[in-house]
């Protein structure tokens, strides 16, 4: 449903995002159950995560390391003293009747993430990063009067990354999400898989007349699980709020769900009481007091982040900003690129092939670069064959496709398929003569000034040589013969 736009110019939106990222651990946050995705329902639970009486949770050290690592990467302050709290509410996917989360003493505070919008850098502040346990999964379909509960996710470690209300447009929100995902993936603290729910986003959004200082009443949008939906949900919600205000209504503070099939947000009429979480310190878990030495050790292990890598690619490889940005969004892609360049591929040529042919082929098969049949060294090898004249740029496309299909290197493909470029002047001349002898009419028109026919002659000779004629030599020969 499309909403009519009423005076959008008079208003601005104020948006803050809460991103839940599943931390990359093998086990749950407070017990040794596996976090593996896609296992049989209720096969990864134990007395601790399903809330049996008398059990004691023990904190997963790796989870704390993931949170601290993330905090360090986004310039947060790592808390010298941090603890867990119980957030109390009832829901069937929450067996204990409370979620163990962090409240007034989160593991990280402050920090920021930089995004680029219309070529300008904008800094989005972070309020905090805290750790918590995930809830289970409810399945509503096909059960008649019942819902079904799978508790495999219960106790999976999450970090919630809360932004300041610094975001002003849906596009900024999507850029923030993308940058955050890239950072988390670089740090290897979250796999960023949105389909599997490893990265989810709630958005707080309000609108106010431009120039007004006070914030409008905010609405919370829940569980947005793709970059596209972040933008769509916010666009819809902002228009809706402006329409309500313009028609004399008032925004109600509430939680709304985005329905991706209709593009509409809808109120989740929840009882007021449900928000009374009665947080209190979790008595079963002792405080976290990270030592300087531990934090330093984690800091030492920090990898180069997307922004730094992008800048390095621009200066070191003389790449345009555009190329560098695309190549560094994903660490695996960036590593593939650098391997190809280090193997001798000319930096810009490697970039062109990756962003062009390679991306297209991978997309066609819905494959990611991890499963790319071509090795980076093979691309470098193929570029060498172009440079030394063994194959033409045109033939290279065929070689590249063949490399993709077979996983063989360029030398092997060229040899097997007989794709070596013809650079023997005599052989090219013979082909040229043959074409010209059959093209009396075209020659006449060419000589009368129809220069476009040059393309026709080149095409005919290429056809006769199966594309293998050295293009430079072919052009020279044709010019000579036709003048």
């Amino acid at each position: 449903m499309a909403l009519k736009e009423t005076n959008p110019m008079k208003y601005e939106a104020v948006i803050g995002l809460e991103v839940h990222a599943q931390m990359a651990t093998d086990t749950k946050i407070f017990c040794g159950c596996s976090t593996k995705f896609g296992s049989e329902p209720n096969s990864q639970t134990c007395p601790v995560c399903i809330g049996m009486p008398g059990v004691l949770p023990v904190l997963n050290k790796k989870a704390v390391e993931c949170a601290i690592k993330t905090g360090l990467a986004v310039q947060s302050k790592i808390s010298a003293y941090s603890r867990f709290a119980r957030k109390n509410y009832f829901y069937p996917d929450l067996p204990k009747g409370y979620q163990v989360s962090q409240y007034e003493l989160p593991i990280c505070e402050g920090g920021h993430i930089e995004i680029v919008i219309d070529g300008e850098v904008k800094r989005i502040g972070l309020t905090r990063i805290h750790m918590e346990e995930d809830a289970g999964k409810n399945i509503h379909e096909g059960g008649g009067p019942y819902s079904f509960v799978d508790l495999n996710r219960t106790g999976v470690p999450l970090m919630e990354i809360v932004s300041e209300p610094d975001i002003r447009t849906p596009a900024e929100a999507a850029a923030y999400m993308k940058k955050l995902r890239a950072i988390l993936r670089y740090l290897e603290v979250c796999d960023g898989n949105m389909e599997q729910g490893s990265l989810r986003c709630d958005a707080n959004v309000s609108v106010r007349p431009i120039g007004q200082k006070e914030l409008g009443v905010k609405v919370e949008l829940k569980n947005i699980n793709s970059f596209r939906y972040v933008e769509k949900a916010l666009e819809y919600e902002i228009k809706r709020q402006i329409n309500v205000i313009e028609s004399g209504g008032k925004i109600v503070q509430e939680t709304r769900l985005f329905d991706s099939s209709t593009g509409v947000t809808q109120s989740m009429r929840s009882k007021e009481e449900a928000h009374d979480y009665r947080y209190f310190p979790e008595p079963d878990l002792v405080p976290i007091v990270p030592s300087e030495a531990w934090i330093e050790k984690i800091r030492q292990a920090l990898t180069e982040l997307p922004d730094a890598k992008r800048e390095r690619f621009v200066t070191k490889y003389s790449l345009p900003e555009y190329d560098a940005e695309l190549l560094t969004t994903d660490k695996t892609v960036a590593d593939w690129y650098e391997t190809a360049v280090l193997a001798g591929g000319q930096p810009k040529a490697v970039s062109n092939w990756m962003m062009g042919e390679l991306t297209k082929m991978l997309n066609d098969e819905n494959k990611s670069i991890e499963n790319c049949p071509i090795k980076p060294e093979h691309l470098a090898g193929m570029l060498k064959l172009i440079d030394n004249g063994t194959i033409s740029g045109k033939i290279a496309k065929t070689v590249f496709e063949e490399m993709y299909k077979t996983g063989k290197n360029a030398d092997a493909v060229v040899k097997e398929k007989g794709l070596v470029q013809i650079s023997d002047e005599g052989a090219i001349e013979k082909a040229v003569d043959e074409v010209l002898s059959k093209s009396a009419q075209e020659i006449e028109r060419f000589k009368a000034g129809d220069e476009k026919l040059m393309g026709f002659f080149v095409g005919q000779v290429m056809k006769a040589t199966k594309g293998k004629a050295n293009p430079q030599m072919l052009n020279e020969l044709l010019r000579k013969k036709l003048s």
Binding site: A63, S147, F148, D150, L151, L257, P281, V286, P287, V289
Partner: protein, 87 residues
């Protein structure tokens, strides 16, 4: 009634009267702690002088499914079953 609602307890109005009195006397009893002089005592959320109790990220065996579901008031072979949650 608010507290009963939050705790998912169903109580009758006349029971509420009795319980109100009892709950208040419990609160009064605990309130005696407020008389203690805590001016020179650091606030704490734990009684143990312990920090940083953590374990390594190593997978342990989980419960067999039927074992995990055994205490559930209602279930199927693989799932806990609850009254439909309307969303």
């Amino acid at each position: 009634m608010h507290i009963a609602g939050l705790s998912r307890l169903s109580i009758l109005d006349k029971e509420a009267e009795t319980l109100r009195g009892q709950l208040n006397s419990i609160l009064d009893y605990v309130e005696q702690l407020g008389k203690l002089d805590t001016a020179n005592i650091e606030p704490t959320s734990h009684v143990l002088p312990l920090n940083n109790v953590m374990r390594e990220d190593l997978v342990k065996d989980s419960l067999p499914i039927e074992e995990a579901l055994r205490n559930a008031p209602d279930g199927t072979e693989k799932f806990y079953r609850v009254p439909k949650i309307i969303e």
